[in-house]
Symmetry: C2
Subunit: 205 residues, 2 copies
């Protein structure tokens, strides 16, 4: 992801429109936490964000689009965080890189649990959200696959190859953080520790 994309909507001197769009996303994030996706309507969003229902449609076509944009913003934050991992730096230990990846993922779940949970739940049935979520998962999987290859896993597409093993371990982490967020147990830090142990064993470290 280039700087330009990351900067979108985050540049100095925001327009009123940027602020209004951000107010809608902020309302969506709060309402995902308080009442859940099903109970959100364009009316409830605009009541909290300020503005008319018609104003909503200047930014988004549907409620699903607004939540998809929120998911995208959230997973972009994760993406930026993971991009700065120095995966290819000489001397970086694969296991340490994975642990750092897990810690950064945990941080996003801790900060944006309701958005991440909603993404997991809605991805199968809301295409706009499913697409964003799949892209984010693929990006994490690609980063982790590079690390797994460094650790010595086969660089092949076979069932014992780095890509196949990594895809399952990334999905495992997603499910584990989701479950811990929904049940409010175990603490996310324990999920990170257990995931880290499983990764360590799989990387043969």
């Amino acid at each position: 992801m280039g700087e330009a994309e990351v900067d979108t909507g985050r540049r100095r001197g925001r327009s009123k429109g940027d602020l209004r769009e951000e107010a809608i996303l902020a309302a969506a994030e709060r309402q995902l936490a308080s009442v859940g996706y099903e109970s959100i309507t364009v009316a409830t969003l605009m009541e909290e964000a300020g503005g008319t229902r018609g104003g909503f449609y200047f930014y988004f076509r549907t409620k699903a689009d607004a939540v998809a944009a929120l998911v995208e913003r959230t997973v972009s934050a994760l993406h930026v965080s993971l991009e700065s991992l120095s995966v290819d730096q000489p001397g970086a230990e694969p296991v340490d890189l994975i642990r750092e990846l897990l810690v950064r993922t945990q941080a996003i779940w801790a900060e944006h649990g309701p958005v991440m949970s909603a993404a997991v739940e809605l991805a199968p049935t809301v295409p706009a959200i499913g697409d964003r979520w799949a892209a984010a998962r693929d990006a994490v999987t690609q980063t982790a696959t590079r690390i797994a290859i460094q650790a010595g896993l086969p660089d092949s597409s076979a069932s014992d190859g780095a890509a196949a093993v990594t895809a399952l371990l990334v999905r495992m982490g997603e499910g584990a953080f989701y479950e811990a967020t929904k049940r409010a147990a175990p603490p996310l830090s324990e999920v990170t520790a257990t995931c880290g142990l499983i990764w360590q064993r799989c990387l043969g470290a």
Copy 2:
């Protein structure tokens, strides 16, 4: 699960009511595959199963209840299959037991993919289905935890204990079979192979 429970609805000399209930479940399974949960109604089910809409309510309160019963029947089949694994038999290799557990799980996904997929998707939002699915997952996790302890993982509730590691690996398998079923790739047998490799590494075998 006792014999009596397993036998329910499968005894010889079924009543007309048993057959009608089974026809409704069979219709639900076919319609999950053909049109999906959202498009199923009591009317579509009874049109295929034969009978009046009112007849439906003799067996189930809602569409969700009928699909929950179908999920229960399907995961019961998995449960019965896993019960016959001789987990505590002396000389049984933990890695071989896990592989057998995975192969039997794969068989259920291969035979009842639409039901299993629907269960994964609906579990977060349809309580009747979520409860059945969570119970099934817990049962598989308990069996696998006993195997992991035999393999030498710590019998503790800590983040590196058999229960924590197993819970994540079971969830990993669920997600992997789900994804492979939805995308029709990779083949389920490859998912089983990759899961088996990850389990093997985690069991230190």
